[in-house]
């Protein structure tokens, strides 16, 4: 289907305009169904991105697929309309369209006032998010990146909790501050492109990828990008907007915030920082790794002491995203794979956790852990689903979190020692242990034991999850299990993209190695990959890439070791 990406991007916007102009405010039922229906349509339309994959030969070469353009948009300054995805961004687009459906669906009962505005903002937000992941022109990317802030501001500011105004403006200002500094970086790159492009500067990513930049110049650009992306991720010192925004946001807002918006930071690092600024990336690694480690440990420790379930989940995001960053900047194929997979996983499991917290909050209007206890007796279905998601979040083998985390650890293990100390693994593993501790402890306090709070019984008894709630939880649970058991279709899709990025990064690593006078011998094992999680995965690998079959054995054993 031609222009499928544009279609995906603008359908929600068109729907939002239809609602604004043609649907009266009091037709709330229709608005709900319509918005959810549009999200569903968007999701269905995005499925060809997944299935159309196998035939896409350009993907195999590590190029953009479903590419649109580049068409001239603002010719005099070299802005182009250029859309396209690769194996990495297609996953994020799919995640976005899926979470869009769930977010709209889960809001039917939760949002009781100003429904029209709510769904309009949700739809506009969807346009912004898909646009960010599809844009291959820096100007376009920036436009979508900022467009997305406004709807999110309103989602938090109007339908949020008691402290919503503070949280909304904090979210907005933090992100904006980062992005304007990023804009300086973008412009600095822009003015380098003239030589490659017949004297005409351009924002087109394809041209910018070809730039050969001076390392010290790269360092400054990286700094500018770092601020923009690290705030979004959020990395440790920039994370303070996140707990506020998450706690105050309505459930759907939290789901999208955690599921998609945070990924934009990591996406930015992956799409822009690594391939365009490889030398600077390597120089920044110690700093980035230390911040990631602090993020992992600090996020987990703070989660441990939270009294509010939602806040706990919010801080756990800091910890999980620390993992993603550590994996990505391990600069090995396995690490990056794990990092991307963990982005998806985090979208699934944290999104699901926010939905689950929302489900119980709708009934009891409290999120305080101490108000609960013995919930398993009152809501058995809910308890079961919560268990699955909890386990997925802490990385139980067989569920999605495990695959991502193990790949990240593997990547960190293979990371050249002159880039960063191997002790990284120790910290990451302790982060995993702490992760299990805070999640399970919360689970225990909320679900087990006797029902101590009489109100709880009153609100919740005989009021287990209804079909709608089960309906929107089911896809996430299924995905968690599927990725846990058989992740190779997901990973296969991102492989060519990662290869392209590695082609840019490896020479920079080699340059540094030469500069330090280290022999490249210790780097051979980098070829070894995560491979067989399960027999099924091994089989699949065998079919798809027979030459890789020989390498399957060793990593499989390592997994058992964890």
């Amino acid at each position: 289907m031609p222009y499928i990406l544009s279609l995906l991007t603008y359908i929600p916007l068109a729907a939002a305009l239809i609602v604004i102009f043609f649907v009266p405010k009091d037709k709330t039922r229709f608005i709900k169904y319509f918005a959810t229906g549009v999200m569903l349509l968007d999701f269905i339309l995005s499925l060809p991105l997944w299935f159309g994959w196998w035939g896409a030969s350009s993907q195999a070469k590590g190029m953009w697929v479903f590419e649109e353009g580049p068409f001239d948009w603002i010719k005099s300054i070299g802005v182009k309309y250029h859309f396209g995805v690769d194996g990495m961004s297609v996953l994020l687009v799919l995640l976005t369209t899926l979470l869009g459906v769930l977010a709209a669906w889960s809001s039917w009962k939760y949002i009781k006032e100003r429904e029209k505005e709510y769904y309009v903002w949700l739809l506009i937000l969807q346009t912004g998010m898909i646009g960010v992941f599809c844009s291959l022109d820096f100007f376009l990317f920036y436009v979508f990146w900022e467009v997305m802030l406004v709807p999110m501001y309103f989602l938090i500011g109007i339908w949020g909790g008691p402290n919503k105004l503070y949280a909304a403006i904090k979210f907005f200002l933090y992100t904006l501050a980062g992005s304007v500094l990023m804009l300086i970086g973008i412009l600095a790159l822009y003015f380098q492109t003239g030589a490659l492009n017949n004297g005409q500067n351009t924002f087109d990513l394809d041209v910018i990828y070809k730039l050969n930049l001076d390392p010290s110049f790269q360092w400054w650009i990286f700094a500018a990008f770092f601020v923009g992306f690290a705030i979004k991720v959020p990395m440790f010192p920039f994370h303070t907007w996140l707990p506020d925004a998450h706690v105050e946001a309505p459930t759907a807002g939290s789901v999208i915030l955690a599921g998609v918006l945070l990924k934009m930071g990591t996406y930015g690092f992956y799409r822009f920082s690594l391939p365009i600024l490889p030398d600077a990336t390597i120089k920044w690694i110690p700093f980035l790794m230390i911040l990631s480690i602090i993020g992992v440990i600090y996020g987990a420790m703070v989660s441990l002491v939270q009294k509010d379930m939602k806040k706990l989940v919010a801080y756990s995001s800091v910890s999980h995203l620390g993992f993603c960053m550590a994996g990505m900047f391990a600069l090995t194929e396995a690490g990056i794979k794990g990092s991307i997979l963990q982005m998806i996983n985090h979208g699934i499991s944290t999104g699901a956790l926010f939905l689950l917290v929302g489900i119980v909050y709708e009934r009891t209007h409290t999120r305080m852990i101490k108000e609960y206890g013995g919930l398993a007796k009152l809501m058995p279905v809910y308890a079961a689903i919560f268990m699955v998601i909890t386990l997925s979040s802490i990385g139980l083998p067989g569920l999605n979190g495990f695959v991502g985390e193990i790949l990240i650890l593997l990547g960190a293990y293979h990371m050249p020692a002159f880039l960063f100390s191997k002790s990284l693994i120790f910290f990451l593993v302790s982060g995993m242990v702490l992760g299990a501790a805070y999640m399970l402890w919360m689970y225990q306090r909320v679900f087990f034991g006797e029902v101590t709070n009489p109100h709880l019984e009153e609100h919740v008894k005989g009021n287990d999850m209804n079909w709608r709630e089960i309906g929107y939880m089911a896809p996430l649970v299924l995905l968690a299990v599927w990725i846990g058991l058989y992740p190779s279709p997901v990973i296969k899709r991102m492989e060519p993209s990662i290869k392209t990025v590695m082609e840019k990064v490896t020479p920079a690593i080699d340059r540094l190695r030469e500069a330090k006078g280290i022999k490249p011998a210790n780097n051979v094992i980098e070829k070894k990959e995560w491979k067989s999680e399960t027999p099924a995965a091994a089989e699949d690998q065998g079919v798809a890439a027979p030459e890789a079959g020989a390498e399957n054995a060793a990593p499989a054993q390592e997994h058992k070791g964890e």
């Binding site: 948009w73 603002i74 010719k75 005099s76 300054i77 802005v79 920036y142 436009v143 900022e146 467009v147 802030l149 406004v150 501001y153 309103f154 500011g157 109007i158 919503k164 105004l165 403006i169 907005f172 200002l173 904006l176 501050a177 304007v180 500094l181 804009l183 300086i184 412009l187 600095a188 822009y190 003015f191």
Partner: protein, 501 residues
Amino acid sequence: MFSLHPSFLHLLTPEIALLAFALIFLVLAAIKGDRTLRTGSLWLSLLSMGFVLFFAVQLLFAIPPDGQTVIAQTVGGHSCMVIDRFGQIFKALFLLGGMLTLLLSKKELDEENAWTGEYFALLLFSILGMMVMASGTDLLTLWVGLETMALSVYVLAAYLRRKEASVEGALKYFVLGALSSGFYLYGVSFIYGATSTIHLESIRAQLGIMIAKGGIESVPFHLAFGLILLVVALLFKIAIVPFHFWTPDAYEGATTPITAFMSVAPKAAGFAMLSRIVLGGLVPLHEILVPLLSLTALLTMVWGNIAAMLQGNVKRMLAYSSIAHAGYILVGFIAALKARNNEGLTAMLFYLFVYIFMNIGAFGVVIALKGNGCEGDSMDHFKGLFHRKPWLAVLMIFFLLSLGGIPPFAGFLGKFFIFMAAVHSGLWVLAVTLAVTSVISIYYYYRIVCNMFLHEAEIREPLTGSAPLAVALSICAAVNLFLILFVPKTLAVMQMGKIFG
């Protein structure tokens, strides 16, 4: 002494027509009295401005981008007025600002019951003055334009003469404005003493020779002193920190359409004159001027935005925000001065174009809120606006987001081009300051958004509508929203030849 080429007379059609219309309005007001004309004079003046705009735009497209026609000369063949693309664009901008102001005026004049014919005549005269400011090329011609503009605006600022705030603000404006005019003339006298000319081109040539011979130190003190006075006087006019003190009071006191007008057209005219003088005459001094102007631009962006955060009155807040915006525009100007190319100038023109629509739009919403004894300019008056009048609130969001520079609104493009020019000419500190201060600005713009959407209404009386106002707001909103689709065309119009030294 002074000669006007008759063959080029048609190039002056806009100015001549405007002068004629202004005189007609004065006479009409005297003959028919103020009461009888009322809205009639509004439509007439709108029509006449439209007519002039038509001529100005026609001229704009008739002259080639890099063409420059000298239409008036003084003794010795020195030009004192030129017609070129740069000036013509400015003229179109003034007229656009003027027309939007007229559309805003009906409701305000009804509310205040203050219809007079002079209101319209003064508006036309002030625009005439600005047009001269945009095309003059010697110091005295520019000064005549400046004074024509300033004297008309002083009176307009004091238009509500029974209101204390209006008179106070206008008086402050007048005293400081007169002082800066004095600075200007004092500076000109020094320059004339040192160079025996008032023609910018000759000044540039002489400065160029001096600096080529003995470097920047060889500029004699009294000349440098005169030049600094000149620049300071201009910075007064465009309200650059630390010469901005008149702005908040004058803006708050003046009747709101005039505030909107003052924040847009005279400011644009100030930039036109600054460009004519600095780029046309003082370019050889760029080594001193760039750091000097950079410092003021930096202070302006920082202080304008910080002070705006502290305001409880929306008009005052917008006054400080317009100071900050003058700082952004000045960055574009400095980029042009430093790199000595047109990129910064185009960015500046583009920003001024966009700024007209976003700022007049924002003031228009303030006017829309006025009525039933409520001035409409307090933060509290915006509370719950979304529930009272959803569309008005939505339009206000467009204007505020545009002012804050959030894509896809036009204000983003304006900032973007200035940003680009600054980065391109290596003004890193200014670029970063611009970036950071526009984040700060979001904070106070969002106070209004927050009041409109997230609070319950305190005032529940229905708002009195006004058709011209609605038209003006729709135009402003449409430009803010859709300009991003027409950027290539807009930029193509603003491409100029290398007109400055």
